[in-house]
Amino acid sequence: MYVCLCKGVSDHTIRQAVDDGLSSMRELRQQYGVASQCGCCKQCAKEVLADALQQKQRRFAQESLIDTDVCYA
């Protein structure tokens, strides 16, 4: 879905950006222009960003868990 319609930024784009290291609304605004025009998308963008960050963290935790297993095995 398009999170920011003014700048044509979708939730996929935001998730990809988070995977590439982006982590704040400020960066999202600077790099993609999210919420820089009408501002309608601010709340939605915050939610998608928070969710993407959480998922990334969870994935990271899982990966390090697997690594530890491998180490002990």
């Binding site: 879905m1 398009y2 319609l5 996929h12 309608c40 998308c41 709340q43 939605c44």
Partner: protein
């Protein structure tokens, strides 16, 4: 005729919902058309026009009650990137509109503005029908797979 402030506020709130729906459906309809999905375009284009008629009814009612219809405000559009997602987002929007209309109707009833309530009831009728159609499409997609479903919508 001077209307009740609470009723006017509710009518404006529903108006915002309808103005948002007009735009969301219109853009979705033309995206379908652009992809050659003519049947979906036709259906959703009509839904957009219906929303416009509902908005018109509300605007006229607010003016009659000596209020000012707020055409400035617009909610967040839920625009999808692919047909199945677009239908699901339309259903989501439609559901939140139905909630808003029901709340507005309760306040009209409380304030004894039965004419506004009846107008909203008529709108609600159309909305329930549309959400039912959307749900059916989503069920069909699940049953037949999106590819087959879309072939029937060319």
């Amino acid at each position: 005729m001077l209307g009740n402030q609470q009723v006017l506020q509710q009518l404006n709130r529903v108006l915002t919902h309808k103005l948002t729906a007009i735009n969301q459906y219109f853009l979705h309809a033309r995206m379908y058309q652009n992809w050659g999905l003519q049947a979906l375009n036709d259906r959703i284009y009509k839904a957009s026009i219906h929303e416009m008629k509902y908005a018109d009814d509300i605007i006229e009612r607010i003016l009659l009650l000596e209020g000012l219809p707020n055409l400035q405000e617009l909610g967040k559009l839920l625009i999808g990137e692919a047909p199945a997602e677009m239908l699901a987002l339309d259903a989501k929007l439609q559901r939140s509109d139905i909630d808003a209309i029901r709340e507005a109707m309760a306040i009209c009833e409380e304030q004894q503005d039965y004419v506004s309530r009846d107008m909203l009831n008529h709108i609600l009728d159309g909305q329930e029908e549309h959400v039912d159609w959307l749900d059916t499409q989503l069920d069909l997609i699940e049953q037949m797979g999106v590819e087959t479903y879309l072939q029937s919508k060319l």
